[in-house]
Structure formats: C-alpha cells, structure tokens
C-alpha cells in the first residue's frame, strides 16, 4: 500500500504548478461558467476536466491558454499571467505549450505535414528535411503516417483530431492541453492515444490537461479530476477521491448507480402525477 502512494499526495513546491486560476471568474460577458475554483495543475500530472456538454470545459481551456481573458481574478500558465504580457513574451510562453482544439483546428489550406511543420517553422531553424522527418515521426505516433501529404479536408473527423494532436506535440510541449482527444475514435485507437499521452508524460515529464468524457480513458490516465457544472466547480481532487466521492454529480458521472432519478424527473411523471 505505501508503495503505490499516488503522485498527487506528494507535497509539491509552488514552482511545480504549471497552470492555475486565482479567484477567477471565467466566461462570457453575460454567462459565467466557472467562479472561484482556484485550480492548480501540477507538473508531471494528468488532469482530466469532466462535466456535461456545454458547461464550460472548452471555455476553461481557452482561458488557460490566453484566448479568453478572465472576467475577474487571474489565470497563470507556466508561472505567467498571459493576459498581462507583451506579444513577444506571450509567444515565448505559448511556444512551450501544445493545444489540441475541440474541432482539431487544422489549417485547411495546408497539408497535414505543413500543419505540423508550422510551429517548427515559426520557432526553430530546423532544416526542411528534418522538419518533415519530425512531422512524419509525430504522425506515426498517432497512426497517421499515410496521411502526411493529405489535406485536412480529406481526413475523417477522428483523423483530424489525431493530426491536430501531432501538431500540438510538434515542439515537445511542457504543457499539453487536449480538448476531447479521443472523441469520435474507436476504443482501440482511443486507448492507443491514452498510451501515447502516458508515454509522453513519462519521458518528457510534462503536464497534460485533458477534457474528456471517456470513462475508461479517465481511469487509465487521470491523476486528478476537475469536474465542472454550469457556473460552478463540482470537484477538484485526485482521481481516487473522485471515484469514491458521494457527490451526486460524480456518482452519476462514474455510473456507480443506475440513474433512477432521471426517470422520476421525466415529463411523464410531471404530467401524470397528481400534485
């Protein structure tokens, strides 16, 4: 038992925090999706962000990577407040970050190879041949080597996702944020991606923040869980705690109980039951 002491319980100094929110209020002018959660994402950990559709997971990710200024409070990534930095310093931080967007966000006019070479071109002086070889390497990792010279429009949804993951990994990021990497993938490919994420984490000691709904995937990779519901934080803590928590949201998410209450909530009951 003491042997399998999980990562999360080790006391980590503050500089091991790669991303955090402080007294934040995140959302859009007329819709707050998360408030006062004070999240902390640690180096070398895999954090899974879970929650129902449309409750602000992608929004939280956007806030973390500097695309959506918090309405209040502070969001820090790799120790910096991106929203207060100059363009150059911002880019220097973002260069150490890889992002996989929910819809892939590949540049449609460029081939898959060019898409992956894009960050390398911008940030390094690598020779063309080596960039291409590296792109091929990354694509092979996600099982897409044959798509090297295809255009994004020729890829299926799941292939786009994987190609976008390869692009996010192009510069060996220190922090990797993935919005539903395995959505739309078959279980086998999805498990392959999980293994890849764990491998990368092991070799590069990077932090991975994943938005995902796949229970198997969460069980396999998560060290820590953030669960959000519309406008509030449900849970933030180690996976082991999430699995045994009695919070009704977590209980129904991890499916430990047949969700009887949804049936009693049904319109049928509302219409037929006597007051």
């Amino acid at each position: 038992m003491p042997q399998t002491e999980p990562l999360f319980s080790q006391l980590t100094p503050d500089d091991d925090i790669v991303a955090e929110t402080r007294n934040e209020r995140i959302g859009y002018p007329n819709l707050t999706t998360l408030e006062g959660a004070n999240l902390k994402f640690k180096r070398g950990e895999v954090t899974c962000i879970i929650g129902g559709s449309g409750c602000g997971k992608s929004t939280l990710m956007k806030a973390l990577i500097g695309l959506l200024p918090p309405l209040a409070g502070e969001v820090r990534l790799l120790g910096e407040n991106l929203y207060a930095l100059e363009e150059d310093q911002r880019n220097a931080v973002l260069r150490r970050v890889g992002v996989l967007f929910q819809n892939g966000a590949l540049i449609n006019s460029l081939s898959v190879a060019e898409n992956i070479m894009l960050p390398m071109r911008r940030h390094t002086q690598m020779p063309e041949a080596v960039m291409l070889a590296t792109a091929r390497l990354k694509l092979r990792q996600v099982g897409l080597e044959h798509a090297l010279h295809m255009l994004p429009e020729q890829l299926s949804g799941g292939m786009k996702k994987r190609a976008a993951l390869a692009r996010a990994l192009a510069l060996d990021p220190e922090v990797l944020l993935c919005d539903e990497p395995s959505a739309g993938l078959d279980p086998l490919t999805g498990a392959g991606l999980d293994r890849l994420l764990l491998d990368i984490r092991r070799i590069f000691k990077i932090s991975i923040i994943v938005v995902t709904h796949e229970l198997n995937s969460i069980r396999a990779i998560a060290d820590r869980i953030v669960m959000v519901a519309p406008g509030r934080l449900v849970f933030f803590g180690p996976l082991a705690e999430a699995l045994i928590s009695n919070d009704p949201d977590l209980v129904s998410f991890f499916g430990r109980q047949a969700t009887e209450q949804t049936a009693s909530n049904s319109l049928y009951h509302l219409l037929t039951e006597a007051p």
């Binding site: 390398m120 690598m126 020779p127 091929r136 390497l137 092979r140 429009e153 192009a170 060996d172 070799i203």
Partner: protein, 372 residues
C-alpha cells in the same frame, strides 16, 4: 565542431565509419548537426555509419527526426546507419517512437495524356449536366411556386429588401457616372454637327437598352451572386445541405428559391432605377455643357425612346437575374474542400456570372438588332 570521425569499424561488413557524438541533438542544435552529419555521410562510400551518442547527449523529437532522416538518406545510398545510445533517457525517448514501416511506398500512377483529356472532358460534361439539371429543377420549382407558394411571403420581402438596399447605392453611383461619361464622350462629337439635342436620344437608348441592365447585372453578380454562392457553399461544406436532404427538405427549395425570386423581382426594378439615374447624369452634361434646357431634353427623350427598348431592358434584366442566380447556385452546390472551397466558389460565381451575362447581352443585342 561536433563529433570526430574515427577509423574504419572493425568486423563490420565492408568499410564503415564510427562517429562519436557528444553534442545535444535538440531543436536548437539540429541545424549544425544536420550539416555535419550530412558531410560525414557523403564521405562514406559503402558500409556503415555508426553514430555513438555520448552519455551526456540530450535528445528531443527534433533530434529523433534528424536521426530518422539521416537513416533515410543512408538507406537511399545502400548504406547502413546505426545509433548506439547508452543513456537511459535517450533510449527511453527512442522507445516511444514506432519504427517506420518497412514497405516501400506504392508509386503514384500518373494518368496518360488520353486519360487526362478524357477526364477533363468528362468533368466538363458532368458540370454541364449538373447545370442543366439545376436549371430545369429551379425553373420547375419557381414556376410551380407561383401557383402553390412555397416561399413564405415574409421571407421573400425580407430578401427583396436585403438585395435592394445592399445594391441600391452602388448601382446608383455607377449608373450616374456611366450616364455622365457616355454623354460627355458624345457631346463633343454632337456639338461639331450642331446636333446637341440628340444627346437625349443617345443617352436614353444607351442607358435603357444597354448600360442600365448590364451595369445592374454586374453589380448584382458581385454583391448577390457572390453571397448566394458563399451561403450555399458554406452549407454544403458544413453538411447542412446533406442534413436538409435527409430531413426530406429539398435544398433547392429551402436555400435557393427565396433568393431566386427576390433576385428576379428586384433586378428589373433596380434596372429601371439605374437607367433613370444614368439619364440624369446625361441631363447634367446636356444642361451644363451643351446649353440645353431641361424641358427640351425631356421632350426629345420621350420622343426618342420606343416601347421596344423598355421591353428589351426588362427582358434582359430578368434573364440576367436568372443567370446570376443559377450560376451562383451551381457553383455553390459544387463547392468542395473546407473553408477555402467557399472562397473559391464565391470568386468563381462572380467571374462566371459576369462572363455569362456579357455573352447573353451580346446575343440579345444581335437578336434585337436583326430579329425584332
């Protein structure tokens, strides 16, 4: 200087070179390493290049990419490339990358000249067929829609207002300038013959029968044709058109018909307005430059214009509107390939419809000159 080339490798098949490497292989150092490894590789005639990575060497994925590319180059020259790495970190990193498949890439078969010509011809025929089907479908739907209305009255009015208000200012300005310049060009000639008053006939006929319909059509192609094409192309690419089809809603009726009606209804109105404003431009020149009075100009204008010209103008504007709507829809429905496809089809719609409008205009002029 990175690495030093050592003497021939003992016990290796053929000659070989062992290269000790003690520099990092990371994004920052890859450019220099690439040059130096390439140089070394070129000195080897046959046998093997054996790269021995020192314990301290740092490796990242760019470095792995470099190693793989060197291996590819070596293989292309029938050489062997081997890496020896003692550091566990390097070995770990290399282990998470899968080896490239051994299979040779299947050569891409290029089509012969006959095949290419055939393909082009087939594509052109296919396109023409699609256009024909679209034209007949739309005509059928549009005519049936007159009897059994399918487009809500409100949608139709909204579209008309949108198209009208979008295009009105620019058409007005262009027509005014065209009328003005036509009159100016003619005024000088007419004055030499003392035929000042005929400026009214000239501007009137030119604007009504030719410039009014044509200028309106060109602006409409640019403003409305492009937006119809872009809208339809966006829907095609986002699979919205497929979704409509599966829901049993014919995309033509839902997407095209309201815009098509609005276009055919507004374009004649805009053409009349364009003509009137163009004549106004001519009047300005007549009054300021040829010293004609407004009533004289007006009398001459009314005398000079025949009903025929008005009929021609209205006919032209309706045909042009049809051409613009159909071309835009045709190009839009055939859009392929992501967001870039939308841009391409928008441009194609404008270019194609302006071209077709001008061809149709020429045909009209011939018919009305010789025929009627």
């Amino acid at each position: 200087m990175a690495g030093d080339v050592r003497a021939a490798l003992r016990g290796a098949p053929g000659d070989g070179v062992e290269l000790r490497w003690d520099q990092d292989l990371t994004r920052a150092t890859v450019p220099t390493a690439w040059r130096s490894l390439n140089r070394t590789l070129r000195t080897i005639k046959d046998g093997e290049l054996h790269l021995v990575l020192a314990e301290s060497v740092q490796l990242d994925s760019a470095g792995v990419g470099l190693l793989e590319e060197i291996r590819n180059l070596a293989m292309a020259r029938q050489l062997h490339f081997r890496v020896a790495a003692n550091s566990p970190a390097v070995r770990n990193l290399l282990s998470i990358y899968t080896a490239p498949p051994d299979t040779k890439p299947t050569p891409v078969r290029t089509a012969g000249p006959f095949e290419q010509v055939g393909e082009k011809l087939y594509a052109a025929l296919d396109e023409a067929f699609h256009f024909l089907v679209l034209t007949s479908d739309t005509t059928f739907l549009a005519i049936r829609g007159l009897v059994r209305p399918v487009v809500p009255w409100r949608t139709f009015v909204e579209q008309c207002i949108r198209i009208g208000s979008q295009s009105l200012p620019i058409i007005a300005l262009i027509s005014f300038l065209v009328g003005l310049t036509t009159a100016l060009q003619a005024a000088y000639q007419l004055r030499q013959f003392g035929a000042n008053i005929y400026i009214a006939n000239l501007v009137g006929v030119a604007m009504l029968a030719e410039m009014g319909p044509l200028m309106t059509a060109i602006v409409m192609a640019g403003r409305c044709g492009s937006s119809i094409a872009a809208e339809i192309a966006t829907m095609v690419i986002a699979e919205e058109v497929d979704a409509l089809k599966t829901m049993g809603i014919p995309p033509l009726r839902y997407v095209l018909l309201p815009r098509f009606y609005a276009l055919i209804f507004t374009q004649p109105l805009l053409t009349v307005m364009s003509t009137a404003i163009g004549i106004l431009g001519g009047l300005l020149v007549a009054v300021l430059y040829l010293d004609l009075s407004v009533p004289a100009f007006w009398t001459q204008l009314v005398d000079g214009l025949a009903m025929r010209d008005l009929v021609q103008a209205m006919l032209k504007s309706i045909v042009f509107a049809t051409i613009i709507g159909l071309t835009a829809a045709h190009v839009g429905f055939r859009a392929r390939g992501g967001a870039t496809g939308v841009g391409k089809s928008t441009t194609a719609a404008v270019v194609a419809s302006i071209f077709m409008v001008i061809v149709a205009d020429a045909i009209f002029s011939l018919i009305f000159y010789f025929g009627v």
